[in-house]
Amino acid sequence: MTFDGRVPSTGRTLDGPAPPAGPVGPLLELERVSKSFGAVHALVDTSLELYAGETHALVGENGAGKSTLVKVLAGVYWPDAGTLRLGGRSVVLSSPAAAREAGIAVIYQEPSLFPDLTVAENVFMGRQPLRSGRRVDSKAMRRRVLELLEPLGVRLDPERIARGLSIADQQVVEIAKALSLDARVIIMDEPTAALSAYEVDRLFRVVENLRASGAAVLFISHRLEEVFAISQRVTVMRDGHRVFTGPLEGLTSQDLVRAMVGRDVVERQSSQRVKPGETVLKVERLTREGVFVDISFEVRSGEIVALAGLVGAGRTEVARAVFGIDHYDAGAVHVAGHALRRGAPAAAMAAGVGLVPEDRRLQGLVMELSIASNIALASLGKLQRFGILRRAAESRFAADWATRLRLKYGRFSDPVSTLSGGNQQKIVLAKWLSRHPQLLVVDEPTRGIDVATKAEVHRLLGDLAHDGVAILMVSSELPEVLLISDRILVMREGRLVAEFSHEQASEESIVAAATGQTSKVPS
């Protein structure tokens, strides 16, 4: 894809000073940047140009390298190769502070504020306005925060503490911080992922204001309609490469999807789908105050049921409550007709429930232990004699599962931390599969793993369902949800708001239900 260096003149009908026409250099230019983590090439020879007064969308599937790109721009990662130019000058962003100094502000999907400090302090921490005697001028700080918030069209009390702010309001605080720094480049990493429709509108007005006042905005989103609504140009990434850059005008979402996927999507074979059998999991009116309310659903043997929804909708919490890691205030969980004791993972395991957690590094694996030990961890009972673990049995056991899951590894004695994300995930799966569960709860099973392994994990889940295991899957990746699940339950703000069969479901209908754009009630 070539790029001629001119600012495209499309889509600029709104107020505010238009960026200078004619050939001007980009405000920020990333040239042939590469970044690898071990064997994983997250960014390969990628370039990106951002212009003042323009909103540039960055799209791509999960794992396409968007987040890595953002972290390079934020000064969090150092690229292995390539150059970064700001206003024509080559710069090195050695730290987040350096990036900030250079005028690059990043607003993450989940902002990190100081929960104990006030909104005003969060905006100005480390740079508070001073009065005589180098004292912090709280009044001036309050006034300036109100001034910053004003054009954003958001009313927030500068004196309230940040704890308890909604994600949308937290982002607003981050944006106010960026404005107070006079940031010229504003990067928003999936800012709308956890927002309601109203909050998205509000954010868009803010972005439009920023753009109109001459900032270069890089906008990352999975929702293509948002990309079309707000950006003038788009870059598509796939597997660490830039595959397309150009004006949005004249493009359709089909074009973008084709560029993003760039290969045939293999759907779960319908021959693989079996007629669901007995009810394995029955959740009745599960409620945890302030987290989720009145959640009822069933999962039957041979069925893959997806819990879809936005980050923070309470899906993971429901999954954890089902497995007994978290407590709940009311309701019941039945597995194969028997009620599970609350908050007792051991009881869940005894009843044949397995959990593949969201964060495998923290919750699914013991990173320092060997591959073999990790696979055997949940089956130690079988591998011991007189209370002593038999190493040979452990190795045989692990080898068996490694072959079945097509694990790629060096030696069994290597610590799990040496494996790639995809292979680590296979180990977590193996650990639970070896117990022959009747119900497997998987939380974000393919987060952060490469495309090929992702397909293998999908195949594995399909095989399991075929063998009669009931699967409850939490996933934020809609393609994955649409691809492998038989039924899709959508959660929004702690409630079950919609249910779709595999045939009914579409990306649009799920997003609409998850963001509350329609008022579907559970059938």
Partner: protein, 350 residues
């Protein structure tokens, strides 16, 4: 404008929750005062002698050292660290500084205080340097220096002892000096109160003070905000050490006799005072005023038990009970608060 629709009466919603939060923080300090008054009232109703000026004076002079130590400890704790070595620093400083009177003839009292301060600063600097440079958790570092400083103390003191007769009378009079013999409030208590107030003001009104809270509230965000976390944490440990050094000199003046056990076990009482005073043990929130009040409360309870003729063996049990109450209260408040705020956002969304 449509802005007003989504944020549930923007004024009402946000400042409502703010008022709630503020109220809770106020209650936190008022709560200690209330418990304190309740304790005094109950004790006085059983044993009126408790509120005579002699007893009150004793409580104040007991509380001053702990209140002072609590100020230093608070600086460290708000940064999500802990300083366990304060008792040992106090002991080391108490002996070395008081010993100067017999070592150096005509030693001025100010000089002794300066020596105590210097010893404390040095000990604090060692703590801070190890914590920030070697990136070792402060719990481990100060546990180690707790033993090391105490061992130094024991080695230096040997079988020796500083006795009251070797100390100038003016020095021994410092803890109890007051307007008149009848006044219940010693000068020292007023000075300490001023120190607490000044520290509170500094923490509120200067960038480094706010940054200590920021570091404890979210270390990663503090790093991203470009706060020199290492420098600030180092500073907090140096201050805590320095304060413990000065407290050591006051300890010597109060008790007159100093051996190698001075300040033994004080670190736990100080941390108890800080926690009872509403400082979050995981950093980010709490005030020095609260911590000082916590120290005053513990000292009052201690004296009340004595006056009531209850065995002082009960004292640690009551301190422990108060810690549990304080921590449960904090937990209860934060759970309530989070769920209240979350529920509000759930309601407004549906």
């Amino acid at each position: 404008m449509s802005v007003a629709i989504g944020t549930v009466g923007p004024g009402g919603g946000t400042s409502g929750s703010r008022r709630l939060v503020e109220l809770i923080f106020r209650i936190r300090e008022f709560g200690i005062i209330a418990v304190l008054l309740l304790f005094v009232a109950v004790t006085a109703s059983i044993q009126p002698r408790f509120v005579n000026s002699q007893n009150i004076k004793f409580v104040f002079s007991n509380a001053t050292i702990f209140a002072l130590l609590a100020v230093g400890e608070t600086l460290v704790v708000v940064t999500r660290n802990v300083d366990l070595s304060v008792g040992s620093v106090l002991g080391l400083s108490a002996f070395l500084s008081a010993n100067l009177f017999s070592q150096v003839h005509g030693m001025p009292i100010v000089g002794v205080f300066a020596a105590g301060l210097a010893i404390g600063l040095a000990c604090g600097a060692v703590n801070g340097a190890i914590v920030t440079l070697a990136r070792v958790p402060s719990l481990v570092v100060t546990l180690a220096t707790l033993y090391i400083y105490r061992a130094l103390d024991v080695i230096i003191v040997g079988g020796g002892l500083v006795v009251a007769s070797s100390l100038p009378n003016a020095f021994l009079a410092i803890p109890t000096a007051s307007w008149s013999r009848l006044s219940a409030v010693p000068y020292l208590a007023i000075v300490i109160a001023a120190v607490v107030a000044a520290s509170a003001y500094c923490l509120r009104s200067f960038r480094p003070g706010r940054e200590l809270y920021a570091i404890g509230s979210n270390p990663e965000a503090a790093r991203l905000a470009g706060i020199p976390s290492g420098k600030r944490i180092f500073f907090a440990f140096v201050m805590s050490g320095g304060i413990a050094g000065v407290a050591g000199v006051l300890w010597a003046a109060t008790y007159g006799t100093v051996d190698s056990t001075a300040g033994y076990g004080y670190e736990l009482t100080v941390i108890a005072a800080v926690v009872v005073g509403g400082v979050n043990i995981f950093g980010g929130s709490g005030t020095v005023v609260g911590a000082a009040l916590g120290a005053l409360l513990l000292a009052t309870i201690n004296q009340a038990l004595y006056v009531l003729g209850i065995s002082s063996f009960w004292d640690p049990a009551i301190d422990g009970f108060l810690i549990l109450v304080a921590i449960s209260l904090d937990h209860w408040i934060s759970v309530r608060l989070t769920s209240a705020l979350r529920k509000r956002s759930l309601h407004h969304a549906t």
